[in-house]
């Protein structure tokens, strides 16, 4: 691989050792930043969609709304006992009174929330994978008739739909950027072929094969794409790290779901290499197709 990218000097010198064109690697770097960001968005949003569809779908919030404090306490106790005994419930956690008051304070005002105002009981629970929510809900209703069960996924369905759409758009942006990179390489290779037409003619007449000539161009295209790709990866990594910090600062479960795993990071890191390989292939095909028009 290294020998292919860095052949002996004499072989490298057969064609002038200039880049495909001056600003080409930098243009590829800018395109690679956009491509890697679009790729990162696709992967992160994909992860979020999976989490909403998986973890959050199995989460329910049970509210007990009962004005009579005695009945409320009785149903709360029965509910906690039931949830502890139900095998379909993975775990449950009652939201504490202080936390509830904190949640309600912005809506009702801290002064209004005295001891005499009835505050509902709220319990978060997570179902085991495969558990049927309708069956569990019926059982809860039997032990706590005042219970109201909210499936978190139902509330987040529009958000999941939106994320799905954004993910498709990010994917399309990535594909378009890759197409733009390939087009730029084709144009650069054609320009270089025209610039060195007389040299190529002479080499052709001395018996150089299409593959021999194509090798020079594909090597240069690969090096330019690799250089641009690495610069692009570095810049994109900075941007992603900055975004990651901001998202972490929000401490939101929803935005936290849109994160990148190790495999995602590895995939994004491979993009410059993939771009170099695609560039080499595109350059080879372009050169050979152009040379085929010559004798």
């Amino acid at each position: 691989m290294i020998r292919w990218l860095r052949p002996p000097t004499a072989e490298r010198q057969l064609l002038p050792e200039t880049r495909l064109s001056g600003p080409m690697p930098w243009m590829l770097a800018i395109m690679m930043v956009m491509t890697i960001l679009a790729g990162a968005a696709t992967l992160a949003i994909g992860n979020a969609v999976v989490r909403i569809g998986g973890d959050l779908e199995r989460r329910v919030t049970i509210q007990l709304i009962e004005p009579n404090p005695d009945r409320l306490e009785a149903q709360r106790a029965a509910l906690i006992v039931y949830l502890g005994a139900e095998s379909a419930i993975l775990h449950h956690e009652e939201v504490g009174a202080a936390e509830l008051r904190q949640l309600l304070a912005p809506w009702l005002g801290a002064d209004v929330l005295g001891d005499d105002l009835p505050v509902p009981v709220m319990v978060d629970a997570e179902l085991r994978p495969g558990a049927r929510l309708d069956v569990i809900a019926a059982r809860i209703k039997r032990v706590a008739p005042a219970a109201r069960i909210d499936n978190n996924a139902a509330g987040l369905a529009p958000v999941a739909d939106l994320l799905g759409t954004i993910r498709v758009i990010a994917l399309m942006v990535m594909v378009m950027m890759l197409a733009a990179i390939m087009t730029a390489i084709v144009l650069a290779v054609r320009g270089t072929l025209n610039t060195h037409r007389s040299t190529i003619d002479v080499m052709h007449l001395m018996g150089a094969t299409d593959a021999q000539l194509a090798r020079h161009f594909q090597r240069r295209a690969a090096l330019d794409a690799l250089f641009g790709g690495l610069i692009g990866l570095a810049v994109a990594t900075l941007i992603i790290a900055l975004l990651g910090q901001r998202v972490a600062a929000m401490e939101s479960e929803l935005t936290g779901a849109a994160s990148l795993g190790l495999s995602d990071v590895a995939l994004l890191t491979m993009m410059p290499l993939a771009a170099a390989m695609v560039a080499a292939l595109v350059a080879r095909v372009t050169v050979i197709r152009t040379l085929r028009k010559m004798l």
Partner: protein, 280 residues
Amino acid sequence: MAAIYASDHQAASIAVSNMVIRFLELWIMALRHGPCCAIAKIMSGIVQFENVGLRYGTGAETLSDISFTLRQGGFYFLTGPSGAGKTSLLRLLYLAQRPSRGMIRMFDQDIVTMPRDILPGLRRKIGVVFQDFRLLPHLSAFDNVALPLRIAGVREREIQAPVQEMLNWVGLGERGAARPATLSGGEQQRVAIARAVIARPEVLVADEPTGNVDPDMAARLLYLFDALNRLGTTIIVATHDLHLLSRITSAEMIRIDNGRILDPTGTLRNPPGARTYRPQ
């Protein structure tokens, strides 16, 4: 000249081995297909043109009804006035162009219908001296001369000595590192000639190879061609230089005018008033 190929002994060995190989080929052919076939092979040429016509675009034919045979090991001068079609004929000979009509056979292969993938292999058997030299400006004189060997995949350590020797022979031993732009016209021409002969081609095509050099260097270069010819290379030289024509007594002449070969029979003949050329 033999020094170009390392030593006199080596040059002689090459010549003898070529003759032996050719004899063996003919002997095997005679055994397989009969003596008539072997005789036909001897009589047939390395290059055959039959009713060849060449037209650029939709214009009139640049070359018309060109028919001739060049035998292996022959020395040929191609003469004619400017615009007669010499360069077009040479372009056909060094496989830069296919004809519009007619048949061309080179190295026993039909060039007209041959797939282009096979052409590079044949082109490596042909050395070309272009009229405008066509040296690669980004390469040194040394690298220009080494180009055919590098294209042919010769290992770098086997390139240095013969290329340096060839540069010495054309009087540019000290100028190997110079770029073509820094060389005079005559020096560029000598580099172009060195490049054309370095791989010891089977056919050498030269377009006005002595146009920019002094008479002494012209004689020296002609001696190089003659020596190559003695080693079995078929030489075709397009020239206006009458002195050049008279220096190779064994050479035959193709005269072309207005895109046609002038000899009524379409055959070749010795140049008139030939004098024996004696190398200095």
